[in-house]
Symmetry: C2
Subunit: 165 residues, 2 copies
DNA sequence: GCACTTATTATTAGTAAGTCACAATAAGGC
DNA sequence: GCCTTATTGTGACTTACTAATAATAAGTGC
């Protein structure tokens, strides 16, 4: 209940543009994803409940699925992780995931503008019509690299909590 | 029990090279993945049971996980699909998935040789040390495109069966 | 070839993430 | 304000996978 009325309005307009009703549940989910990008459904539920306590997990799944189909949200599934959601859509950006701590970073498109959208088909393959090229970089972030070089410190905790990113 | 002794020997040697014992379970799993690339654990189990009926699902999960860690197998997780495995490792190749029928095609590396391994970091991001760049093309295969243009034919069946690919 | 050690596999139970069917509710057009 | 129907809530269920421990067998030395 602070100052995000402009955001509310923008989301509401977008929902109407897609023929969807403007409900507090959808607005809460959108706000939660906006505030916590790269979060799984469970964390989005927790965040959205801060302003809408009666929201249920199933509603979040339904809303996330629907908004993803509308391309108002983007969904991606890092290996060994539940699906993550973000509001940054439309640009063809990618993600880098630390295989040690799970941290996710946005990465702009690697090779110019619509780079990855033109695969090199094998001679015997039947080419598909490509719509998306999801690039998932996997590596080790600076913090984890430092932690592994230092002696003991064996606390490999995946940060599934909401506070991170 | 036919002619794949050469393959057996090669797999056995690779297992020994990694300090693993050569068991019929591992050989059966490797042979199954080799014969059915891009298959989920369940299908690999079914295929491996053809020559080793007493094999259990859990063993398949353990073996797949271990062999993946050894980089003798490669694992990838298309959206809305269980993890798939293949024996083609070492080359930096990618995958195209039909979002309608689930068909998977191999795609050679898009931009030269080690292309995707150099992300463009945002100014404020802390760069990670990248080890893998998984590119997942999503689109519609020729068959599904044709099927959607034709009139009714509303049989959207995901091919999770073993016979496909 | 035979015993023995320990990696590997089987058995059984359990969990996380998400789906399905249907009843209750409320958004938006009238 | 009422009414229709999209949306959400409730509760059961499924799929893909993990964990703990007992049984088995690969490879080593004799």
């Amino acid at each position: 209940m602070t100052e995000h009325f402009d955001g509310q309005e923008a989301w509401a307009a977008a929902l109407r543009a897609h023929g969807r009703r403007v409900t507090k549940q959808r607005l809460a989910v959108l706000a939660a994803v906006e505030r916590h990008p790269h979060s799984p459904a469970e964390s989005i539920l927790a965040a959205a409940r801060a302003e809408l306590p009666e929201l249920t997990a199933q509603s979040v799944y339904v809303v996330l699925g629907d908004l993803t189909d509308l391309h108002m949200l983007r969904r991606f599934e890092p290996p060994h992780s539940p699906a993550l959601y973000e509001t940054r859509v439309g640009d063809n950006h990618h993600h880098a995931i630390c295989i040690s701590c799970g941290r996710v970073e946005d990465v702009d498109c690697a090779v110019g503008h619509a780079p990855c959208l033109t695969p090199h088909w094998n001679p015997d393959a039947k080419p598909m019509t490509i719509q998306i090229a999801d690039v998932m970089y996997q590596g080790i972030c600076q913090d984890c690299q430092r932690a592994q070089q230092l002696p003991p410190q064996s606390s490999l905790t995946r940060n599934k909590e909401i506070g991170e990113q």
